[in-house]
């Protein structure tokens, strides 16, 4: 494979916020400092080098950028203060833009004003659309689903989900094709090659790493991870993610119970009722995580948070609003008298959450998809053929 330089990429990269990329003189400190990199997947320097020379295909086909958890250690030790962690974040932004062929992702990364506007308009659209279906606002108790029928929300949600799933699949397909090309994987190597650890890789890519945050927890040897657990970097991230998943699970359970006829959506339940318990705990974790993340970015507490591009803010804002509004609704639900603002807050909550989900493949949120795919590729190894031990070794 010939590698032809492309001088435009580095300039392009800077538009994704790679502020220091040109400063790098390739000393390798960042890569050697990183506790997550390995000889099978070297970063950040490899990514930086590809960007410096403009090797687009190699960047878009790399899984390395998704293995980074943005701990910021590389940026702290960089002798040229080239901000490698930030360059990695820019690379992810660049990849999100390029995997999404619809061009919406590009707006969020490159034209954040338009991106932000889209998010707001979309939320307004969802809100307005649901408002057209409104019914009554009961004042004696907060009957949210009398205000907007849950059937309607469910249907709208499902439609959004399907659209998101389609867009996500398309983007993932793009990513997989590029990754396969860059790593010389063809249908033939998959079918005719050595046996692969398909299942273990899946387990690792879905459960061990993202859910268990194993490497973030155990290997990121940074100051913050040595602090008390609830302030450690990995926990904040995990709290956000677990919280979010908890909320999704609670909603899904609620819906499931409705379908199987155990409990009607919106029926008042005690706090220990499983879906509600999961939802409340998830919401707490989620709000805590997102709030800490926002504060860190706002205060630029460390190297990893000292450069925030607008797309970071849009994503965090969507997360935070959907989390905090959910909580306010929860509070409103248990107030002795149903406040009118509870309904508005509910409407707000549903619109923001739908926007968040709807924009998943186009915003920074997409990392949750790509990271899993990349982790899968990373974990995928040929199964070693165990030969029966020969008698009498040399």
């Amino acid at each position: 494979m010939t590698n032809r330089v492309d001088p435009t990429l580095m300039r392009d990269f800077k538009k994704y916020g790679a502020v220091g990329i040109e400063k790098c003189f390739n000393c390798g400190t960042c890569t050697a400092t990183c506790s997550l990199t390995s000889n099978d997947s070297q970063f950040p320097r490899r990514i930086i080098r590809m960007a410096q020379l403009g090797l687009r295909d190699q960047i878009l086909g790399s899984k390395e950028m998704w293995l980074c958890y943005n701990c910021g250690k590389c940026s702290e030790t960089c002798p040229k203060q080239a901000e490698p962690a930030n360059i990695m974040a820019a690379a992810r932004c660049y990849a999100i833009t390029n995997y999404d062929t619809l061009g919406i992702g590009r707006l969020f990364c490159r034209v954040p004003l338009v991106g932000g506007l889209i998010a707001v308009l979309l939320a307004i659209f969802f809100g307005a659309f649901m408002y057209t279906q409104r019914e009554t606002m009961s004042t004696e108790s907060l009957k949210l689903f009398n205000f907007i029928p849950y059937e309607f929300i469910h249907t709208a949600g499902i439609v959004v989900m399907i659209l998101v799933a389609l867009a996500s699949l398309l983007a993932i397909f793009n990513m997989v094709v590029r990754m396969a090309r860059a790593n010389d994987i063809t249908i033939k190597t998959i079918t005719g090659g050595a046996r692969m650890n398909w299942l273990t890789a899946f387990w690792d890519a879905v459960v061990v790493q993202p859910l268990g945050q194993k490497r973030y927890r155990e290997e990121c040897d940074i100051e913050e991870n040595r602090r008390v657990w609830y302030l450690s970097k990995w926990f904040i991230h995990a709290a956000t993610m677990w919280g979010f998943l908890g909320l999704v699970l609670a909603t899904a359970l609620d819906y499931l119970l409705e379908i199987v006829g155990v409990k009607a959506t919106g029926a008042a339940v005690p706090i220990w009722y499983p879906p509600r318990l999961i939802g409340t705990l998830g919401g707490l974790l989620f709000t805590y995580g997102v709030t800490v993340l926002l504060v860190k970015r706002w205060r630029a507490v460390d190297k990893a948070h000292s450069y925030s591009r607008p797309s970071d803010w849009i994503f965090l804002a969507l997360l935070w609003f959907s989390g905090i509004t959910g909580f306010i609704v929860e509070i409103a639900l248990y107030l002795p008298r149903a406040p009118i603002w509870g309904y508005w807050m509910f409407l707000f909550h549903v619109s923001v959450s739908m926007t968040l989900i709807f924009l998943l493949p186009f915003t920074k949120f997409a990392h949750s998809l790509y990271r899993v795919v990349a982790l899968y590729f990373h974990a995928l190894k040929p199964v070693p053929v165990i030969e029966p031990a020969k008698a009498g070794t040399d």
Binding site: T2, V5, M10, E22, K23, F25
Partner: protein, 672 residues
């Protein structure tokens, strides 16, 4: 005088900080030497040349009545003078000292065999002792010195040396081969790290030099012959005619039609054979390029005027010579990185001139095309590897680093970026060597300006070839980039710039005339990089600037000022001392055969003179010590053994040879 007494020899063996003691058992040698006749004391020391070591010798001379001293240490070139100084301080004649080179002649070459090294040390030392027994006090040759120095070369180093010598109150003559002053510096635009205008600095310097009452300048002049010695050199100079005068210059210049490639612009442009290299040059009077002028007359207002070079020859008497002859940029052979084959390949000096000539324009133009992508290749003509690069005429490759090119290249990329911000620049290097004060800043700027750096391995140099038909760019550079894990990277470009190194200059025999030597790198050689960094082995001949090796302007200036300091120390007192190791005739033995005169190759060193001996006219050889170099040619041919080189007499040699061959009783004991 203690010298006339029975010899009392002090023998000292230096460990040389492990250099000698690492191979030679110094203590055993000292012990064995103690038994030799006339040896009063033997000592060893970690470092004889240190103040403590020297004091030891002085003390022994004063307290033990030592009257001959032998030191076994490093090469005599390094510290013979040091010990002569110590001996003198103690009140002994400095030539009652003998130096044995135990390091270069023994420990450094026999480090692997300690027994043999010790044996050899003992033999060398006993030879030294044998010679010391026969040493006689001598007097150095004291001569008046011209308080006048010659500086050869009118570039920045020569100018600076001339100015600094003049400022020390000495007279200076500066001769420059070309008809104009300024040398290579005039061809530059700005200089790093200050970004000042090169010519502004240069003209300031020229102004100071020309205005100084102690300085005389000859342009268009070259050295044709050198004779004499420190303090009293006679230099034959030939100065070419300028060809034109201020009165007729303009008319002749406009009448001149013959054009030749302009070396000032490295052949990028043409100039007339009556020329000024650039506007504002010194001297402002144009000159005729005699090498290229075809001799045809010029038509000035209908009158044919023919110009003729009528060189003047004259002699200068100077006390010292500063060689500031500069360097040449390396010219790649046809085909190296496409040079001379692809029109898109230029050298860095050429590009500097090109940019100077094309001041305007939004984009860089080359070969009739706008340039968007440039590759800059470092180490062209430097850091060459045997078997990879084409050797020079002498069969050697330029294996040295040219020191200046890295910063000069990045200085260039800064300039390019400033003028043409859209340009894409690729820098192909082995190591970036921005070592000097403020130089690393150029590297930082280059990075921040978006210059892409690629690193090649010296044994796999980049490949420059024409791009295939239909490619976006005319030239394709391929490099195995070590920063990209050794992957082959393809760079399509419009221009390739070769950062060429420094080449030692052909001095057309000047080095031979001055009897100075060149090092392995073919640059002029100093005595010792630390002890005497700007002096040559010929006393009174001093180096300044890049004739000695690659240097930037700042370093050339320092070297030139250092040279001036040496000249000032040498000539400031108006007298010099020469070593007394010259031929001496024993008139008792001489019977005037004249064989010695025939054998002598040094003018005026030995001659037959007629004497009246008992009323009889006899011819006897007479030495003029100042002209004798002590080569010994006369000694070898004299049938009567009537000539000897003082301090190195035949008798002394015989004693040394005998001592070396002898098996001392102690020797077997020592080396067993």
């Amino acid at each position: 005088m203690p010298e006339n007494q029975q010899p009392r020899i002090g023998v000292y063996i230096c460990h040389c900080g492990g250099n000698i003691s690492g191979a030679v058992q110094c203590e055993s040698v000292a012990k064995a030497l103690k038994g030799l006749p006339n040896v009063t004391i033997t000592r060893t020391d970690e470092s004889m040349c240190s103040d403590a070591g020297q004091s030891l010798i002085e003390k022994d001379i004063q307290e033990l009545g030592i009257n001959r001293v032998v030191v076994g240490a490093c090469a005599p070139m390094l510290h013979e003078q040091t010990f002569r100084g110590a001996v003198t301080r103690a009140g002994l004649n400095p030539f009652l000292y003998h130096h044995v080179g135990l390091r270069e002649q023994d420990s450094w070459v026999h480090g692997h065999d300690k027994t043999a090294a010790t044996d050899k040390a003992l033999r060398l030392m006993s030879a030294g002792v044998a010679k010391a027994r026969l040493l006689q006090p001598l007097d150095p040759i004291r001569l008046g010195a011209e308080k006048h120095a010659l500086v050869i070369g009118g570039g920045v180093a020569g100018l600076r040396a001339a100015l600094d010598i003049a400022r020390q109150g000495l007279r200076v003559t500066l001769i420059e081969k070309s008809p104009f002053l300024g040398g290579r510096m005039a061809q530059l635009e700005t200089v790093f790290p200050t970004e000042e205008e090169a010519r502004a600095l240069l003209h300031d310097l020229i102004q100071k030099v020309t205005a100084h009452p102690n300085v005389t300048i000859f342009m268009g002049a070259e050295v044709m012959g050198v004779s004499g010695y420190v303090g009293n050199f006679t230099i034959q100079v030939k100065q070419h005619s300028r060809g034109v005068s201020d009165d007729n210059a303009e008319a002749l210049m406009s009448a001149c039609t013959q054009e030749v490639p302009d070396p000032f612009n490295y052949g990028l442009t043409k100039r007339k054979v009556i020329y000024r290299p650039y506007e504002g040059c010194y001297s402002s009077t144009p000159a005729v390029d005699w090498d290229h002028y075809d001799g045809r007359p010029f038509d000035v207002n209908g009158w044919p005027i023919e110009l003729k070079d009528e060189p003047k020859s004259f002699e200068l008497n100077v006390g010292a010579v500063v060689v500031a002859t500069g360097f040449d940029p390396y010219t790649p052979p046809q085909g190296e990185y496409g040079f001379g084959e692809l029109p898109q390949v230029v050298t860095l000096p050429q590009l500097i001139r090109h940019l100077a000539l094309s001041k305007d324009g939004k984009s860089l133009q080359w070969n009739g095309r706008a340039v968007r992508d440039v590759a800059l290749i470092h180490c062209v003509g430097s850091r060459q590897v045997d078997g990879v690069h084409q050797p020079q005429e002498d069969g050697q490759v330029n294996n040295y680093c040219s020191r200046v090119c890295c910063t000069a290249s990045l200085h260039m990329t800064a300039d390019l970026h400033k003028r043409y911000p859209e340009l894409n620049i690729y820098d192909l290097h082995q190591d970036i060597r921005t070592y000097g004060r403020g130089h690393e800043e150029y590297y930082r700027h280059a990075l921040e300006d978006g210059v892409r750096f690629l690193r090649y391995n010296g044994e796999e140099v980049p490949e420059v070839s024409p791009a295939p038909q239909g490619d976006s760019h005319p030239v394709l550079v391929k490099v195995k980039d070590m920063l990209t894990y050794g992957e082959e990277i393809e760079i399509p470009v419009d221009l390739v710039v070769l950062a060429v190194g420094f080449m030692p200059r052909d001095l057309h025999g000047l080095d031979k005339m001055l009897k100075i030597s060149r090092g392995n790198d073919r640059f002029l050689l100093e005595v010792h990089p630390k002890l005497r960094p700007v002096e040559t082995a010929v006393k009174g001949v001093i180096l300044a600037g890049s004739a000695q090796g690659p240097m930037n302007i700042q370093e050339s200036l320092s070297a030139a000022s250092a040279a001036a300091a040496k000249v000032a120390s040498l000539l400031g007192r108006g007298k010099v001392e020469l070593p007394p190791f010259v031929a001496a005739v024993d008139v008792e033995k001489c019977n005037g055969t004249g064989a010695c005169v025939e054998a002598c190759v040094y003018e005026g060193a030995i001659a037959l003179q007629t004497f009246n001996e008992n009323g009889e006219e006899v011819k006897r050889a007479v030495i003029t010590p100042a002209n004798c170099v002590g080569c010994g040619a006369c000694v070898a041919v004299c049938p009567n053994n009537a000539v000897n080189v003082q301090g190195w007499t035949l008798a002394q040699y015989e004693a040394m040879v005998e001592a070396i061959g002898m098996d001392l009783p102690a020797m077997t004991e020592v080396t067993a």
